[in-house]
């Protein structure tokens, strides 16, 4: 008896619920059916959009994209040093830079004089460039077998780039000086990966702009934390108490700020991870940082590192005097 009653109530309940659901759905459908006219206007919208699209595509074909001269210049300082993968790294970096308008590449070699490899490469690259060189003193240089994080790298070379910029800034007159007022300086290592959007984000920097960097600090990405449009702190897993716990690839400085602060430079003796702070703390406070990349929520640059190629067989051959032709540039 009891069981039958329970089943009955369950059944009745179920029946009413499903009936109500069906009625509700039918009403919904009814509403949509009213929108037949809605559909018509949607079709119109679509054909209108198609027309717009065609018009714009025509416009694109005719407009000159490559000769943009009315945007602020980006000076990219890249320290580099001779190793097997150097030419490959510079090659793929140049492919990215060739897409960026008004980019001036400052390549600073860690060498006593310019090497033919880099000289020839830059001449053939098609980019606007400046080729500098500055040898790192022996005691600051990483030795064979040292882990890459032991000593800060590239400090002397970046400082040399800054010196050249300051020299050029002092000598510039008239239109050129006006162009430099809006220019931006970015430090790009030769093994990182840069998206094209990044350069457009950094182009309009008043003081120092910042954004997230992928694959750095032992994490998927490090980023400045933005609240109410201002940077309040940095989200990083490694030594977050640094003045600026940000990677070299995560900020850009306006040239104006570089020129008006001639004492700002990278400290080659700085502790591990404090290289960026040694430069930025002379220039800007946390409050003044300009967050980019959608208020620091998008990753537009990745701190990739390239493996050192295995040369065991090459080394063995060289011992026998049968190494590969050294005249062939790799």
């Amino acid at each position: 008896m009891r069981m039958r009653l329970k089943l009955k109530t369950v059944f009745v309940l179920y029946f009413t619920v499903s009936l109500l659901g069906l009625i509700y759905a039918l009403m919904q459908l009814g509403q949509r059916c009213d929108c037949r006219d809605h559909d018509m206007s949607k079709d119109q919208q679509i054909s209108q959009l198609r027309g717009e699209l065609q018009k714009l595509q025509e416009h694109i074909k005719t407009s000159e994209l490559s000769k943009k001269t009315d945007v602020p210049r980006i000076y990219v300082i890249t320290p580099t040093y001779a190793r097997l993968v150097q030419k490959a790294e510079l090659t793929r970096l140049s492919h990215t830079f060739l897409h960026v308008p008004q980019l001036h590449w400052i390549v600073v070699e860690d060498a006593p004089q310019p090497t033919p490899l880099v000289t020839d490469f830059l001449a053939a690259s098609g980019l606007t460039y400046t080729h500098l060189y500055k040898l790192t003193p022996k005691d600051r240089k990483l030795q064979e077998g040292d882990p890459s994080w032991l000593k800060p790298r590239g400090a002397e070379q970046r400082n040399e780039g800054l010196r050249w910029l300051r020299e050029m800034g002092a000598a510039a007159k008239g239109k050129e000086a006006a162009a430099l007022e809006e220019a931006v300086v970015y430090f790009a290592d030769d093994d990182n990966t840069y998206s094209l959007q990044l350069f457009e984000e950094m182009r309009y920097t008043y003081r120092v702009s910042v954004w997230p960097v992928g694959l750095v600090g032992g994490m998927k990405f490090e980023r400045p934390v933005v609240e109410d449009g201002k940077v309040v702190r940095f989200h990083t897993g490694w030594r977050p108490n640094r003045p600026f716990p940000i990677d070299m690839a995560g900020f850009a400085v306006s040239l104006r700020l570089v020129l008006t602060n001639p004492q700002a430079r990278f400290d080659g003796d700085a502790q591990m991870g404090f290289l960026e702070s040694s430069f930025l703390q002379h220039l800007v406070t946390l409050d003044d940082l300009e967050p980019k990349a959608d208020l620091c929520t998008k990753v537009l640059v990745w701190h990739t590192r390239t493996e050192k190629p295995k040369m065991k067989r090459e080394d063995a051959l060289q011992k026998q005097g049968l190494g590969s032709d050294p005249d062939v540039e790799v």
Binding site: F11, L19, A25, C33, D43, H95, F221, K298, V299, S324
Partner: protein
């Protein structure tokens, strides 16, 4: 008695649901969704306006005042498609940062086959690869993912590059990925993906079509110079050139005699392979691929280093090879490998926001 009641109960339970389903199917919902999709897609396309146009407009409006320009992110196309709005003036725009060179009717198309798989550096690798490909005219990128279905990351990336592309996917079965016993060694990575691309080419192009094409296998972590693509464009059957950083050497290269013919291989690792060359060291004319529809990379039982030979020996002989790159004396492609990033600070739970794409 109870039996009839049961049947009645079952019928009454099922009836509302069947009604619902049939009505749903017949309704206008399906076409509406289609319209929505098209609308979204078109709005996104239109909002791709070259930077110059918008900056030009902004400059005219600003009168040259020194303000910080908000070079904006993508706009929300939902605004236009969900409501009954007229198309209003576009204020914020999505930028196309560059475009590939215009398509030429004369140049042979280079079909670049790239297998790829998900890992932290994937987006970075594909980004810089795309930046290189955007300089090459008449390039068709066939990107094959090693996944069960096409991932949104790659789909979005491909669309945003503006390249001419085909997006495929095939998942390498789990047991093939792991190391098996000696009789059944694992499939070299990317084999199934490359074979799928070859099959797609054979299904898409028929041998009678006049479409000149070259097929090149490009891994997503190597580095390619622009000169390489122009060298391979003149391939008649199979062309070869040196590759840096393979086989434990500075570079491996084919041996070319005075008559300009390949007669051997300058490698240390098994130079007696039929084709002792890396995947990045050769390109095949599309006609040859179509002419020999049975030629694929061998899946199983391939010794290390013999994968390239498994395909090439079905297509061509040593004497047919065309040496490029100044008779194989210049390095135009480097077999670089990217370090696996150290992600210790993510910890077990993950320190960073998983919704942010890297």
């Amino acid at each position: 008695m109870p039996k009839r009641r049961d049947i009645l109960a079952i019928v009454l339970i099922v009836l509302p649901w069947t009604l619902l389903i049939t009505v749903w199917h017949q309704s206008a919902i399906a076409p509406l969704f289609a319209i929505r999709k098209v609308c979204h897609h078109l709005v996104k396309e239109i909002l791709i306006i070259p930077e110059r146009l918008t900056i030009h407009r902004q400059r005219l409006a600003d009168d040259g005042t020194e303000t910080r320009h908000d070079t904006g992110p993508a706009t929300d196309s939902k605004e236009y498609c969900s409501q009954d709005k007229d198309i209003v003036e576009v204020v914020r725009t999505e930028y196309v940062y560059t475009r590939p060179p215009p398509w030429s009717d004369v140049l042979p198309t280079i079909h670049v086959i790239t297998p790829t798989y998900s890992r932290p550096v994937q987006k970075a690798e594909l980004t810089r690869l795309a930046n290189t490909f955007l300089h090459v005219p008449n390039l068709h990128w066939i990107l094959v993912e090693d996944s069960q279905r096409r991932t949104p990351l790659v789909t979005r990336l491909l669309r945003e590059t503006g390249l001419n592309y085909t997006h495929l996917n095939v998942e390498t079965p789990r047991n093939y990925k792991l190391r098996g016993d000696t009789r059944d060694p694992r499939i070299p990575r990317g084999t199934m993906q490359r074979n799928l691309a070859l099959r797609w080419l054979r299904e898409t192009f028929n041998s009678n079509s006049s479409q000149a094409g070259i097929v090149y296998f490009a891994d997503d972590d190597n580095t390619y110079s622009l000169e390489l693509f122009e060298e391979m464009r003149s391939t008649r059957k199979v062309s070869v050139w040196p590759v840096a950083f393979v086989g434990g050497l500075r570079y491996e290269s084919p041996k070319v005699n005075a008559a300009g013919k390949v007669y051997g291989w300058k490698t240390v690792f098994d130079p007696h392979r039929p084709f002792a060359i890396d995947m990045a060291g050769f390109a095949i004319n599309l006609r040859l691929i179509l002419f020999k529809p049975q030629a694929y990379f061998k899946l199983r039982g391939v010794k290390g280093g013999y994968q390239e030979s498994s395909l090439l020996r079905e297509l061509v002989t040593l004497s047919d090879l065309e040496p490029k790159a100044a008779n194989c004396t210049k390095i135009l492609v480097w077999h670089t490998r990217t370090e696996k990033p150290v992600l210790v600070n993510e910890g077990k739970k993950g320190f960073t926001d998983p919704n942010v794409e890297i």
